[in-house]
């Protein structure tokens, strides 16, 4: 109490100095008077200065919530005491660097999760349905997701910012709740590892037919994938993960969230518009990227970087050559891991960039591939919940020593007007027709269509008219001619992938 009163006097003195009050003015102010109201009628810029000066004077950091609500001498004192306590309990350095510039210590991260758990317990969301996490900021997204899992919900990670049974960090934070005792002193990774197998997270992908697909993954399988990766590679010396892939994607969830949790090292989440250099104070950094990031990252690579991890798409021959050149010319200690896999399959295999042949991958120790009816079935612990084995959508050859030769995506066969056609065959014809222009072909199944669906091609070409001439008919012969949409370029999503959804959106925007 004595401390509180002492602080009250100090805050009152600071207000006089900060906003240049006269003694007679501060004398009229009670400790519970709204500073923006009577008797002072201060301005918002006055408040900002008072808070800035109190931060400096008392050596504390206020958070955004401190600038909301009513502002009185008493509330500033309370906030100062609270900020002092937060500071004393979070003596460890920041663990999560958000893409919006904020950062959270491990203690703050846990504190927030504890609060969110309490609020979620009485929030009344439907536990039988996926709980959509609305946050875009990776740290807030993960705090909500972890709290939801601990509370028995099934969080849904999606790039779609709306939907039913949805929740956001800000929404939960605004509700009152005592800190939960569910989080103990153990690290969060250990606690996630001990969750029952029914604890799951849904990941929503854009889907090859334009319809989002939800994939249900058990926490246990993803934790196991991380355990296997840390056994396979020596990440012990790392002191920062530089994450260019959001944990909204399963690849990001594993490499940009679970892995740093497991290693107990900080993670820096990059935004998709602004690349920040890794802090100069760290010496061993791993960058988690997708292929489209390579171009902007490669010039910024410094000797701090030990590992580059790529997934979400083929790294490609040209990038691989560039990587090898970087290693040879200036970064001899840099290693690159190119991971083959998808949300549907989990990690399957890897190759070391710049060393291994561009198509040759090493299967992960616990993954096996079995030939079956001209294709390959994956047997792995990293498959979606309840899936024992899954067909591989890629063309591969199995080599000796658990190695595979990756030959690209498997051709898709679609049924159009009752006949079966190869999408690859259509794509080849279009490539002849639009030589040098990037293109994609999709067959969108439509239950109510007599044709069985729509065959559509997107061609990266300046707006052009497409006439079905005799020459075109001759080229396609017995193949169906797709509807052609011309767009200036093929758009890519945050994972650097061209998706049907993105293409359709681009066409729609062009027509507005």
């Amino acid at each position: 109490m004595k401390d509180f009163e002492g602080l009250v006097n100090q805050v009152r003195r600071q207000i006089v100095i900060s906003v240049e009050l006269e003694e007679s003015e501060i004398a009229q102010l009670s400790d519970d008077d709204d500073l923006l109201g009577s008797p002072l009628f201060l301005d918002s810029v006055d408040l900002l200065q008072i808070y800035a000066d109190c931060q400096r004077k008392f050596g504390v950091v206020f958070n955004n919530a401190d600038y909301e609500g009513t502002h009185t001498v008493s509330s500033i004192v309370t906030r100062t005491i609270s900020a002092k306590e937060t500071k004393s309990t979070s003596t460890d350095s920041a663990q999560f660097y958000s893409s919006d510039g904020k950062h959270y210590s491990s203690a703050e991260f846990k504190q927030h999760i504890a609060h969110l758990i309490t609020v979620l317990q009485s929030a009344g969301f439907d536990k039988t349905k996926p709980l959509r996490v609305l946050d875009v900021d990776p740290v807030k997204m993960m705090m909500v997701a972890v709290a939801a899992v601990f509370s028995g919900y099934k969080p849904l990670m999606s790039a779609q910012p709306q939907g039913e049974n949805a929740v956001s960090f800000a929404q939960l934070l605004s509700k009152q709740g005592e800190a939960s005792s569910m989080l103990d002193a153990k690290c969060i990774f250990q606690q996630l590892a001990t969750l029952p197998s029914k604890a799951v997270i849904f990941f929503e992908t854009s889907g090859s037919t334009g319809v989002p697909v939800r994939i249900e993954k058990s926490l246990a399988s993803m934790v196991q994938e991380v355990e296997e990766l840390t056994t396979l590679f020596d990440f012990s010396g790392l002191d920062l993960i530089d994450a260019y892939v959001s944990p909204v994607h399963m690849y990001g969830f594993i490499w940009s969230f679970l892995l740093p949790l497991k290693l107990e090292i900080p993670v820096l989440y990059q935004s998709n518009t602004l690349l920040r250099p890794a802090p100069e104070t760290v010496n061993h950094v791993m960058a988690v990227i997708v292929p489209s990031i390579w171009q902007s990252l490669s010039d910024a690579l410094t000797a701090q970087y030990c590992y580059i991890v790529n997934s979400g798409g083929k790294f490609g021959e040209q990038r691989d050559a560039q990587f090898a050149e970087r290693v040879q010319s200036k970064l001899p200690d840099l290693q690159g891991i190119d991971v083959l896999g998808s949300t549907e399959t989990g990690a399957i295999a890897y190759r070391m960039m710049g060393q291994d042949h561009i198509q040759t991958y090493q299967l992960l120790p616990t993954v096996s591939l079995q030939p079956s009816d001209g294709e390959h079935l994956i047997y792995s612990d990293f498959l979606p919940l309840g899936v024992e084995c899954a067909p591989l959508d890629d063309k591969i050859e199995i080599l000796a020593n658990n190695k595979i030769l990756h030959l690209g995506r498997k051709d898709s066969v679609f049924k159009f007007k009752g006949k079966r056609y190869s999408l690859k065959a259509i794509e080849d014809k279009l490539s002849q027709l639009f030589l040098g222009h990037a293109l994609r072909v999709y067959f969108i199944e439509q239950a109510d269509s007599v044709r069985g669906g729509e065959l559509i091609a997107f061609v990266a070409k300046e707006s052009s008219h497409f006439d079905i001439t005799d020459e075109v008919r001759a080229l396609f012969q017995d193949l169906p001619i797709p509807k052609i949409e011309f767009i200036d370029e093929l758009p890519t999503n945050a994972m650097g992938k061209v998706t049907l959804q993105g293409l359709q959106e681009k066409v729609r925007n062009a027509r507005v």
Partner: protein
């Protein structure tokens, strides 16, 4: 009644920003959705929570090593952009020499880096490059502009104000061509100042999105404007017609906009009223859209309150600030150009990085994440600024002759001043108040005083109060139509700026105070005036090196003539500090002129019933640089070329007294029997106040009254009927105003 038409067209533009050095590079950036906002490296921002901005790397990297020997970067940016604009408009310097050319420059940050270096690193010689108008003067000299050179300093509406006035200069046939736009270079003080207000986003800004905050930037954007007939005569294709412009004041807060966007609405409505554009014509509005919580929603409310469409989504809107950041004094011009480059390709600019539209901005068609194809015939553009200043521009592809009513007559109703330890107004020959040291508003008019009011703000309000009193105008009438407000200042609140720099020097960027920073913008006193007297009409803020007061009156005159407003307050003010003394010492201005002072006029047009008791009529303005012709050994000034009638009296007021005799002789050579009187013989005016003092002196001479307690000594006439007032700044640029007795009085 003669038929008046407006056909001002854009025939060229140029731009330099963090998105590239020209319009094509800007378009490429926009097309690839690339933002120029990147981590800062040009100055140290240690301790601030954000470290990104849109910096013009090309110019900075080229000149960084020898920057102390060069003008401020804002001058260098402007030169690059104007070169491109002139080239696009097919105007060589050879052609310009034979044209009547004006330069209108928007600038918010002044030469701030020069001030930082001058004060914090004792590089005093660089202080000559600090004043905002010095940038304009540098640019004018570079391009050989001898006509009017005006510097608009209403913070983030500076360049849109410049474009608006450019249109008025052409509508009134003052010049053939106007180069108009804005330029600003970012500096540590500015960057830290916006952080003190917690306005800066940690990553690239995304106006209208739930991610709040602005990104700062720098650069320049300039347009070439001319009348359609002029462009047609030289076979120059037109890009768009500038069909309407307007401005307003919020009279609400120093930094925050009025929450319902009432100021934006008033400005937009005035622009529509002054043109033949209807809300239905608009295909797109390029908004100010800063990304801050206060701005975006309020601005949309204001725009759509003015347009009132049945379907709000029928008019797409976007802010271009995600591309190059908020370029402050250059924002209006650069953003307008960003719309032009997209429109010329059949597209609309977009807001980048949009994930989730915030609640108060929903229900609109906000263009996000990539240019969209859209045929555009007519656009609007809005900007807003500290001090509650708003501007609107309307432009369309097809050129029409917009009918205009004949200009209204404009009168001076009253004037007041505070200087030399006294306060005067036209109603009294003796001082109405006296003070020791510096004037303090609180003991004089406590209701008009607000906490922490800057000295310059107190002087401005005091002088304006005296002018209102002299004019017998009740400013407190809540029912009054929006009254215009126009302000001129050379350095603004130099005392506040001095404290601001002192904090920066002592504590680093985190030490800059939110309570001081808003007062350092040059139009902060204008915001003070708007709040004190509830002024919500058209508005502009000028800086010069001696003529700013007359430029403010010139703009008021244009708006009153066009009947955008019926009554206006015009004020100029300056304060004295160690910093301002250092600047003026470097500019070799005599020490006795350095004192805090302010003066003000109340002007009305013939629509205002109070016009019947006017003191004088304002007839015309012009401006131009005095140049000594070595061949003829004569001084010549373009401002006098169009003067049709010989005045009965000339009031000449010059900052540099040393050249008074030469210029006075040149005037007497042209107007052989007209007496030239020295304005400074009646009052030792400061720099910012000299031109309005000269107008007040002329008004007293027309009415046979004393000025500042001194009788005006006339030689050839007991009561002149017309007086030519000429104010000459430190750079020998002159602005003239012809005032006369009120006809029929």
């Amino acid at each position: 009644m003669p038929e008046c038409k407006s056909q001002v067209v854009i025939t060229g533009y140029g731009v330099i920003s963090s998105c590239g050095d020209n319009a094509q590079e800007l378009y490429n950036s926009m097309q690839s959705q690339r933002s120029g906002v990147v981590p800062l490296s040009c100055f140290d921002v240690t301790g601030l929570p954000s470290d990104i901005a849109g910096i013009v790397r090309s110019v900075r990297e080229k000149h960084q090593d020898k920057q102390t020997d060069l003008p401020d970067f804002s001058t260098l940016f402007a030169i690059e952009a104007i070169e491109e604009a002139l080239s696009a408009a097919n105007l060589s310097r050879h052609i310009l020499v034979n044209k009547r050319v004006a330069l209108c420059v928007g600038n918010a940050n002044t030469g701030m880096e020069k001030l930082e270096q001058g004060i914090m690193e004792n590089q005093h010689e660089g202080l000559v490059e600090y004043p905002a108008h010095k940038q304009s003067d540098n640019i004018a000299k570079h391009f050989g502009v001898l006509g009017p050179v005006l510097t608009f300093t209403s913070a983030c509406t500076s360049s849109s104000s410049a474009l608006g006035f450019a249109k008025q200069l052409l509508d009134n046939d003052v010049v053939d061509i106007v180069i108009a736009g804005g330029t600003d270079a970012l500096a540590k003080t500015i960057y830290a100042g916006f952080h003190s207000l917690q306005s800066v986003a940690p990553e690239v800004c995304s106006p209208y999105d739930v991610k709040m905050g602005l990104s700062l930037g720098e650069g320049a954007g300039f347009l070439v404007l001319e009348n359609y007939n002029h462009a047609e005569a030289r076979n120059q294709p037109t890009i768009m017609q500038l069909a309407g412009t307007a401005s307003s004041l919020d009279a609400y807060h120093a930094t925050a906009p009025e929450p319902q966007g009432a100021g934006v609405r008033r400005s937009f409505e005035t622009a529509l009223r002054s043109s033949d554009v209807t809300p239905e014509d608009l295909d797109y509005v390029n908004t100010h859209g800063t990304g801050t919580p206060a701005n975006d929603g309020a601005e949309l409310k204001g725009i759509f309150a003015a347009l009132n469409p049945q379907d709000k989504t029928s008019i797409p809107v976007s802010s271009s600030k995600s591309y190059f950041g908020h370029t402050l004094g250059a924002a209006g011009a650069i953003e307008f150009i960003s719309a032009l480059v997209a429109i010329e390709k059949g597209q609309l600019p977009s807001t980048l990085n949009g994930d989730d539209i915030r609640e108060d901005c929903q229900g609109h068609h906000i263009v996000v994440n990539g240019l969209i194809d859209h045929n555009v015939a007519c656009i609007g553009a809005t900007n807003s600024a500290f001090g509650g200043h708003n501007t609107t521009m309307l432009a369309r592809k097809s050129v029409t002759a917009i009918p205009k009513a004949e200009g209204k007559k404009v009168y001076i109703l009253g004037h007041g001043s505070i200087a030399e330890q006294g306060g005067y107004s036209n109603g009294a020959d003796q001082p109405l108040l006296s003070y020791e040291g510096e004037f303090a508003l609180k003991p004089f008019q406590s209701k008009l005083y607000r906490r922490r009011m800057s000295t310059i703000g107190q002087y401005a309000i005091g002088a304006s109060y005296l002018a209102f009193s002299g004019a017998d105008v009740d400013y407190s009438d809540a029912e009054k139509p929006p009254m215009g407000a126009y302000f001129g200042t050379t350095l603004g609140a130099s005392q506040v700026q001095q404290r601001n720099l002192s904090d920066l020097q002592e504590y680093g960027p985190t030490g800059v105070k939110s309570t001081l920073f808003p007062d350092t913008v040059l139009n902060a006193p204008l915001g003070n005036l708007a709040l004190a007297f509830d002024l919500k009409g058209c508005s502009a803020n000028f800086s010069d090196l001696g003529n700013e007061g007359m430029h403010a009156l010139w703009h008021a005159f244009m708006d009153l003539r066009e009947d955008k407003i019926a009554c206006a307050l015009v004020c100029s003010a300056e304060d004295k500090s160690n910093t301002s003394d250092l600047v003026w010492q470097q500019m070799q201005v005599a020490g006795q002129r350095l004192a805090s002072s302010a003066n003000a006029l109340v002007a009305v047009n013939e629509q205002d019933p109070r016009a019947s008791r006017a003191l004088a009529q304002v007839d015309e303005f012009n401006a131009g640089r005095w140049v000594f012709d070595e061949d003829s050994q004569q001084w010549d000034c373009a401002a006098l070329a169009q003067l049709t009638d010989k005045p009965d009296l000339i009031v000449l007021s010059m900052v540099n007294a040393g050249q008074f005799e030469a210029i006075s002789k040149a005037l007497q050579a042209q107007f052989s029997t007209t007496q030239v009187i020295n304005g400074r013989a009646y009052k030792e005016s400061g720099i910012a106040c000299q031109s309005l003092d000269a107008i007040s002196l002329a008004t007293c001479a027309l009415n046979g009254r004393m000025f500042m307690g001194r009788e005006v000594a006339l030689q050839n006439t007991s009561k002149p009927e017309s007086v030519l007032v000429m104010s000459v700044n430190t750079q020998l640029s002159a602005t003239t105003c012809l005032v006369s007795t009120v006809k029929g009085k």
